[in-house]
Symmetry: C2
Subunit: 152 residues, 2 copies
Amino acid sequence: MHPDLVPLAFLLGTWEGRGEGGYPTIEPFSYLEVVTFSHVGKPFLAYQQRTRHPQTEVPMHAETGYWRPVGERGLEVLLAHPTGVVEVYEGTVERTRIEIRTTSVTCTRTAKDVRALTRSIEVEGDTLRYDLAMAAVGQPLTHHLHAELHRR
Amino acid sequence: MHPDLVPLAFLLGTWEGRGEGGYPTIEPFSYLEVVTFSHVGKPFLAYQQRTRHPQTEVPMHAETGYWRPVGERGLEVLLAHPTGVVEVYEGTVERTRIEIRTTSVTCTRTAKDVRALTRSIEVEGDTLRYDLAMAAVGQPLTHHLHAELHRR
């Protein structure tokens, strides 16, 4: 592993679990999720995420990108979404807790209007919990997703 | 396969081969490349790309994202790079030829300054050739990469 990745090593692996979503414009929903953080010896983590319906197992959301440590406690995250959105985040790593916030969200002309997101991630041993808030489709920054995942 | 994906179905699969790169600010270089286009039944292709050194096999570049057909001939592409860059492209699909151009490039504060890219892709049977031009680090849009890949 590249030495710059040490502060993010607690994320490595494949994580599986269940999440709950809500937003003022939609009905509450649940999902099953698989997240993988991997590395190839360079100073970044490759990230892949997929969710599926808890009963039908039909694919729901997906996202992919890279997590870049910056110094001892800094973090940059680059994400692409099949919904027509790319996001750039900056934030901090404190032991096994991550807080990131978008510095840029860009949507294609056919995408829903997403303006800003925040993500909090905390890992305790082999359990990862995250919360995501989103400002989109005219709503202010509002809690959208919470999930608890377990390292495979 | 989702019916909206039919115009992009010629991309599906795993492609391997060799490329050549150049730019006014660097020495020419060669690379080995693996590209995968896959789908999960939804109206987009998931895309993963990795290159490695032709002699040492050490990982070089990587990129990941999604390709979204828009109508019969339109295309939107969302890409994230571990170099700290996200790109949004729009373009066209004519039979098995794709032309896309960035509508947005966003870099983190620690990334090299990338301003714009164009990509041309042509598939003939199981051969895929692409060219990529880039405006970056103060240079105008300049040819950067050419590769020929073969479907596995």
